[in-house]
């Protein structure tokens, strides 16, 4: 009998748990430790953030699903890993603090044979003074945040209906943020809602981003073929901004937010400010607040975690210039080299470097999008973790494990630009691979044939179909495992 502990119940952790439940025998135990009671289909939070969906449509309770699948569920926050055990534990274990209302604040130790770190990001609003729900801006990172954003947006729309001019700022709240695609989606959904409300002429919508240029999306932009020409996501995205009348400020690091004013530094070193009536700015991410200790209780956190809190896995973390970055730098198995029974998947693993070219302002401020690893890559990593752990349990730790590098992984993204079965639109994009491989694909680093982009109503239908399909899959309904990650 083996026990697999999964820290985190988001896309990567939940996917790993469900696949393990069908791959392991009844004698093995799967335990999910997550502080949240609900699963959230985060890509649809942008629709909650404009009032097109309710929070209940993008979330569901985890407990009934885990009960049905025979998975032990502990509503708790993992706080420390002891990968060698300690004086009173022969086996490795994790320390937990319960968030379950019936045991809130109680602590416990949970031994494991295999550990999956799928803790996702810590929303680091504190990195920028005045950022976030406790400051002066809104967020759509959680369904609760999105509900608050929607209410504030409706208030702005009501003011416009009374004839007041409003400045709506959407974007990234720090120079090292990731998930530019989500901010892009929210900006265009806000524009769509304001237009539908008949007050577009009273709204000045500004997209404030750390991307060097539009269309970067944290992946260095895309190149694809359209009507016989190779075009770029930069030109394509700029065209959409022009068509929809949205202003953009690029290469920006938000240095602070005050009531109604956002301050930012740009790549040219200038300090600027922008007054706003409504602002949704995403926070930068850092790893969960986890510590690690060896058998003697010595703190080995620096061995297991990068300075940003993400877990170091089988990547090449050698610091080198952009020109020397290679596809092989990226992890293949997500195993921790010194403790191969630990894997870190989804946002929890430390990327070796950015994907977009990193840049600094003349003042030395780093303004560089962090690499996105949400959605499809997270699901694939979760399934990979389950497959490899199941193989080790059934065939022994010496078994040849499978790999899934982001440098050999495709991404299919559908970025909503407005909701509505008849009047919605979205940008459908694919790229292969996510991490460019200039040795394999000289020029752009990606297969131009497998990389494409298209805007239209069909994209909205696809995003809506994906919403229902992935919630069906996450609820482990019949045939769920046939739906690809």
């Amino acid at each position: 009998m083996a026990r697999v502990v999964i820290m985190g119940g988001g896309i990567a952790g939940h996917t790993a748990a469900l696949h393990l439940s069908r791959m392991l025998t009844r004698s093995d135990e799967i335990v999910v430790v997550t502080p949240n009671s609900k699963w959230n289909w985060i890509p649809s939070n942008i629709w909650v953030g404009v009032g097109k969906m309710k929070s209940e449509q993008v979330t569901f309770e985890l407990a009934p699903i885990y009960k049905r699948k025979g998975i032990r569920y502990e509503q708790a926050l993992a706080t420390a890993i002891h990968p060698e055990g300690d004086a009173s534990h022969e086996l490795p274990f994790v320390e937990l603090t319960y968030t379950d209302p019936t045991r809130s604040g109680q602590t416990d130790a949970l031994e494991y044979d295999y550990l999956v770190n799928a803790t996702g990001p810590k929303l680091n609003f504190g990195a920028t003074p005045g950022l976030g729900p406790d400051g002066h801006t809104y967020s759509v990172c959680t369904s609760g945040h999105a509900v608050d954003a929607s209410e504030a947006l409706q208030e702005s729309i009501a003011r416009m209906k009374r004839g007041e001019h409003q400045v709506l700022v959407v974007g990234m709240g720090h120079g090292t943020c990731t998930c530019e695609g989500a901010a892009f989606e929210y900006a265009f959904n806000v524009e769509h809602e304001v237009r539908q409300a008949g007050v577009r002429d009273l709204a000045d919508i500004v997209y404030l981003t750390n991307e060097y240029e539009l269309g970067d999306f944290g992946v260095g932009g895309l190149t694809f073929t359209q009507q016989g020409f190779q075009t770029t996501s930069k030109l394509w995205t700029e065209s959409l901004f022009r068509e929809r009348g949205i202003r953009a400020v690029t290469g920006a690091h938000v240095t602070g937010v005050e009531d109604g004013v956002v301050h930012y530094e740009q790549l040219d070193g200038t300090d600027n400010s922008l007054e706003f009536d409504f602002a949704m700015l995403l926070p930068p991410f850092r790893g969960a607040d986890l510590r690690a200790y060896d058998k003697n209780g010595e703190d080995i956190s620096a061995e297991l975690f990068a300075p940003n809190g993400f877990m170091k896995v089988d990547a090449d973390y050698t610091v080198k210039p952009f020109e020397e970055w290679r596809a092989e730098d990226w992890p293949r198995t997500y195993q921790v080299p010194s403790y191969p029974n630990i894997v870190a998947v989804g946002i929890a693993f430390a990327p070796p470097h950015q994907i977009s070219r990193p840049r600094k302002s003349p003042n030395g401020t780093v303004i560089a999008p962090s690499p996105p690893r949400t959605g499809k890559p997270s699901g694939i990593m979760g399934k990979l973790a389950a497959t490899n752990i199941a193989a080790k349990i059934s065939q022994g730790d010496a078994v040849q494990v499978r790999s899934a590098s982001m440098a050999d992984m495709a991404a299919a993204c559908v970025a909503s630009a407005g909701s509505g079965l008849r009047h919605g639109s979205a940008a459908s994009m694919t790229m292969y691979p996510v991490v460019p491989d200039l040795q394999k694909y000289p020029g752009t680093g990606r297969s131009v044939k497998d990389t494409f982009g298209e805007i239209g109503l069909a994209g909205h239908w696809i995003k809506l179909a994906l919403h229902y399909m992935f919630i069906y899959k996450a609820k482990a309904r019949p045939g769920w495992h046939l739906i690809p990650e």
Partner: protein, 48 residues
């Protein structure tokens, strides 16, 4: 005017025909099938 503002101002604007095609039900139904097929091919390739 910074470079992004300039780039947006000089980006190509879709024609009325393109905009109609982006919302036309028949065209978009065909695109829905075509895009899904493209995505499925990429996912299948990745899983090989």
């Amino acid at each position: 005017m910074d470079h992004t503002t300039h780039d947006i101002a000089s980006a190509p604007l879709p024609t009325a025909k393109t905009l109609r095609a982006r919302t036309g039900l028949l065209v978009q139904f065909e695109r829905f099938l075509a895009i899904n097929l493209k995505m499925a091919k990429i996912i299948r390739k990745e899983h090989r």
